[in-house]
């Protein structure tokens, strides 16, 4: 029986730092050219040192890999490249022993067209699985649903010659949508969840949840019955699997996303949801040197249930999505961050954090500071902690999924396989290549980005206020300053960020905190006490201060 290494803590995810891992790209434990669970186990000490509380694994299931594994052909097994179910449970146990929890991607909306369910469904119109997918004689229904992968899919319907009917797919044509009208499908997906929960997994990142149900006359997103089903999933988890988390991927406006967290009082749907619109605005703010987009999107962010949390991120395995911005903002983002059309995909930019910020160390630190200061749990993307680059010449989103760069040795220390065997070659360019950017070198260099991020994670984790506290915006006359107060119980934190390329001065109205002494949190330097007059701060270009407001010593 696996040991229990955690205290019961239903809200652990509110204080956690998440770390997203592409198993294929992290570490190759068996020298076959692709990352796997044995390799992940070897790197747990690194993740523990970094301060990660929860690992989020990209899809780990058998798949023809036509969509990075989001095209699942068997929900109850592990992709052979990654190992076995036993390897997975060993990984979970080893992670738990180090105080690290594990959640995994799960796609509820659709399967791969190679899934036996679909093969059975297309082969027999009268068979037991005939109704497990959404079939139609015409491609007429649900006209108002937008096409998401606009670059590759002309329609949400594709014709299947075997069955002689159209089938519905919100994503690629090789990813048929499951038919949630069918109670057997609802039950089957609950069985999938139970299977992994019984093995000790700490939760799921639920991919593409807004699209479970379809209805004519609607855009087929966020339908009430979709929410009903998710509530059923939550009830099942709450009843039998305490301390697990459901993290919704709903790329929607905050006012719509909030619905995925359930009832405002009881929070009876997903525990967490990603805050998608925040992220592009962080990039807009630093490029325009204007804090307004940040204040505005946070103002527009509705309150969430007490037991729920936002997932915040700078980058992830997908394109930097620009669905949740206005056309004008999108044009601006494309102009500023994706001048080369190769950098664009669908409605987004397929680049990693460091290249997006021109590898500017101050900018990378500032973005992390803003991210870590906001109400929510930060989700880091593997490789961004060392400032890895991307390869825009690779297809689809592979450019941001290249192997983790561990050392300056062969294959970047990622694999002992032959170079030609690797699933993707590691970056080798002079700026971002593994000779220049790798974990080993950055561990040795006290001023490296990696060491800075580890220190920053440790600092954030010393103060539950960042995960649990209130957010109070602090506007000033200087539009280049993003300042706010976080408060939880007795801990009061003042965060001030300069999004400009130039040094700035700002006068903040801190009269509500008169008598308190700001103590800078990195160096523990005490600043002059707050009085009744506006508090003057000067900040370096792209600089920031975090202060703990302490009572003056008697």
């Amino acid at each position: 029986m696996p040991h229990r290494w955690f205290e019961r803590e239903p809200l652990w995810f509110k204080r956690a730092v998440f770390y997203e891992i592409h198993i294929r790209g992290f570490f190759d434990g068996n020298a076959d050219g692709a990352g796997d669970f044995r390799g992940l186990i070897e790197k747990l000490d690194y993740l523990q040192w970094l301060g990660v509380d929860c690992v989020w694994l990209l899809p780990m299931y058998p798949s023809p890999l036509r969509d990075g594994g989001y095209d699942i052909s068997d929900f109850l097994s592990i992709h052979q490249d990654y190992g076995t179910v036993a390897d997975f449970t060993e990984f979970v146990e080893q992670a738990h022993q180090r105080g690290i929890r594990v959640i995994a991607d799960l796609v509820m909306n659709h399967t791969s067209s190679e899934h036996p369910w679909f093969q059975e469904s297309r082969a027999n119109r009268n068979g037991p699985k005939a109704d497990w997918y959404v079939w139609s004689d015409t491609d007429e229904p649900y006209r108002d649903a937008r096409v998401i992968f606009v670059d590759s899919e002309p329609s949400n319907w594709s014709f299947d010659a075997v069955r002689g009917q159209y089938y519905w797919h919100r994503f690629f044509h090789h990813q048929p949508d499951l038919n949630y009208e069918n109670p057997e499908v609802q039950e089957a997906m609950l069985d999938v969840l139970r299977f992994w929960l019984d093995l000790g997994i700490d939760g799921f990142r639920l991919d593409a949840v807004p699209y479970l149900y379809e209805e004519d006359g609607s855009n087929c997103e966020n339908l009430p019955r979709t929410h009903e089903y998710l509530k059923r999933v939550r009830a099942e988890v709450d009843a039998h699997y305490p301390d697990r988390v459901l993290l919704a991927e709903a790329n929607q406006w905050p006012e719509d996303v909030v619905a995925y967290l359930g009832d405002a009082e009881s929070g009876d749907e997903c525990h967490m949801a990603f805050h998608f619109p925040l992220m592009p605005r962080m990039f807009v703010a630093v490029r325009r040197e204007d804090a307004a987009p940040l204040y505005e999107i946070l103002e527009r962010t509705p309150a969430i249930p007490e037991n729920a949390q936002w997932g915040l991120f700078l980058r992830n395995h997908d394109e930097l999505t620009l669905e949740m911005v206005t056309d004008e903002e999108r044009d601006y983002m494309y102009d500023e961050y994706a001048k080369d059309p190769r950098m664009r995909i669908n409605l987004g930019i397929r680049r990693r954090l460091a290249p997006l910020l021109d590898n500017g160390r101050d900018e990378i630190e500032l973005m992390h500071a803003i991210l870590f200061s906001l109400p929510g749990s930060p989700v880091l993307y593997y490789g961004d902690e060392i400032g890895m680059g991307d390869n825009v010449y690779l297809g689809d989103r592979d450019g941001v999924r290249t192997p983790m760069q561990w050392t300056s040795d062969r294959n970047g220390g990622f694999s002992h396989a032959d170079w030609a065997q690797l699933y993707l070659q590691p970056l080798m360019d002079p700026v971002y290549g593994y000779q220049a950017v790798n974990v080993e070198a950055q561990l040795r260099t006290p001023t490296s980005l990696l060491r800075w991020i580890a220190r920053f994670i440790a600092l954030r984790k010393e103060h539950p206020v960042f995960g649990l506290g209130s957010y109070e915006p602090l506007r000033s006359d200087n539009s280049r300053i993003f300042a706010h107060i976080r408060r939880w119980e007795e801990d009061v934190i003042l965060c001030v960020h300069n999004v400009a390329r130039s040094a700035q001065a700002v006068q903040l109205d801190l009269s509500a905190h008169a008598g308190m002494v700001p103590e800078e949190m990195f160096g523990r330097t005490r600043f002059p006490a707050v009085g009744e007059l506006p508090y003057l701060l000067t900040l370096a270009p792209r600089g920031f201060f975090w202060f703990q407001l302490r009572r003056a010593d008697p």
Binding site: H3, R4, W5, F6, E7, R8, E42, K43, D45, Y46, Q48, W49, Q97, R98, G99, P242, W406, T407, G413, V439, E440, L443, R444, P446, R451, A454, R455, H463, P464, V465, L468, W488, E489, E490, D491, G523, R524
Partner: protein, 444 residues
């Protein structure tokens, strides 16, 4: 049974084993309680959560006796007897939210009878202990962490694998509830008439320094043997020897480097004891970088984890090693981490520096520095002659460099600890850091 929150907070905060004396407590909450005996007085144990005003919290185990309406939250002899009785019976006692299970190890000598004589002895940092008939001792963990206490794991492993120089595990009791699982107490052999290694050092350095040096040679051998046994079972995943991943040395160095930086950041400019190292933080970090340019780091194994003279006893004719809990301020996840056995060795060497400094030497005899150098030589000679060399980095130069990294880690920790707690002792880690800086670090 209900507690007044204030009474509970005040009681816990008075205890030596209460670890968070400088933090403001916002709330105390009784999480569960288990009645051990229902006679008069009622004897019970309680699990309490102390919540601090920054939002963090800790778990504690309280023992109490209820005489009529009067609550006595103190170590009670009757309660200790009841706990031993429950161990003998292999009892399972219900609480409100969970259960406490008692286990005994078959054949353990101290459990064949009710103890006649029971006495509580001094509290440690995170536990209190009760001695039974002078032949076994029940250690009651007061500050709790979820999971299996490393002392239970390691003592059980050493007992099972026939290590002769540690107490035998006799039994344990543990809580299993919806909120957490935790080891609450461990019964083990009591080392009768044992002389505490630290006390013995202070006595013999003054009276018979050469005799003590030969004992240290033996301590080196016992330490090597302990590591050999800890590395002896590949079939137990918690103890199997592992080859560290490539970045292990890098992670260690980065961790120590951060600690050096933080320690030097806090140093005051006008403390005379600090003068020899004042302003030399960058030199220390440079030395650390040179030391860490080693080859393969050897193997990693489960270790003692908090190894120093105070964790040893001279029991008439040989050493006994005690206290496998690991460093009480670290989390179980950190304490259970497999590490190079040289980390234990470094802990013991630092302990010699303290002993040399605290002892009084005979007039005209050798200096403290000379004695420390000989003590190190004796101990290391015994150790390297015994330990399985495959556990260590290849070649003595590489082993010594890794040992120096661990010594530096320890000395920097001591520096911060002494500055906070015992300013008079600061010169000891200062001298240690200085010595490590002056030794040649580059690979030959």
């Amino acid at each position: 049974m209900s507690f007044d929150e204030r009474v509970l907070i005040e009681h816990v905060m008075r205890q030596r084993w209460y670890g968070a004396k400088s933090r403001g407590v916002a709330h105390a909450q009784l999480l569960d309680s288990v009645v051990v005996s229902n006679a008069e007085p009622q004897l019970a144990l309680a699990l309490v959560e102390m919540r601090y005003d920054t939002g963090a919290h800790d778990l504690y185990q309280l023992l109490y006796a209820l005489r009529g309406d009067e609550l006595d939250i103190d170590d009670d002899v009757g309660l200790a007897r009841e706990l031993v009785r429950a161990l003998r019976a292999g009892a399972t006692l219900p609480g409100v939210e969970g259960t406490v299970e008692f286990h005994s190890v078959a054949g353990f000598a101290g459990l064949d009878r009710d103890p006649a004589e029971v006495r509580w002895i001094g509290a440690e940092q995170s536990n209190t202990s009760v001695v039974l008939d002078e032949d076994s001792i029940l250690k009651v963990f007061r500050r709790l962490e979820p999971g299996v206490n490393p002392e239970l794991e390691v003592l059980g492993f050493l007992t099972e694998h026939g290590f002769a120089n540690s107490p035998a595990l006799g039994g344990w009791y543990a809580y299993t509830g919806g909120l957490f699982v935790a080891t609450l107490g461990i019964l083990q052999t009591f080392v009768r008439d044992g002389l505490d290694g630290w006390e013995l050092a202070l006595d013999e350095i003054a009276a018979a320094p050469d005799r003590f040096l030969s004992r240290l040679h033996r301590l080196g051998e016992v330490t090597g043997e302990m590591h050999n046994v800890l590395a002896s079972d590949a079939s137990d995943p918690a103890f199997a020897v592992e080859t560290p991943s490539v970045e292990t040395l890098g992670l260690l160095t980065a961790t120590v480097d951060e600690e050096v930086e933080r320690a030097f950041l806090e140093l005051s400019d006008d403390d005379e004891a600090l003068a020899p190292i004042a302003g030399r933080g960058e030199d220390v970090r440079e030395q650390l970088r040179l030391l860490s340019h080693g080859g393969p780091a050897g193997k990693v194994i489960r270790t003692h984890g908090d190894y120093h003279l105070g964790q040893t006893m001279w029991a008439g004719d040989d050493w006994v090693i005690l206290d496998f809990e690991g460093e009480p301020l670290r989390t179980f996840a950190e304490r259970r981490r497999k590490r190079s056995p040289l980390r234990d060795v470094a802990g013991m060497l630092r302990s010699f520096a303290y002993a040399a400094s605290a002892a009084s030497f005979l007039p005209g005899a050798e200096s403290a520095e000379e004695w420390e150098a000989r003590a190190r030589g004796q101990f290391l000679d015994g150790y390297f002659g015994t330990v399985d060399p495959s556990l260590l980095p290849t070649g003595s130069a590489a082993a010594e460099r890794l040992l120096s990294v661990f010594e530096l880690e320890k000395a920097v920790y001591e520096l911060r600890y002494e500055l906070d707690n015992r300013p008079d002792w600061v010169r000891i880690p200062v001298a240690g850091i200085l010595r490590l800086m002056e030794q040649p670090a580059a690979a030959p």
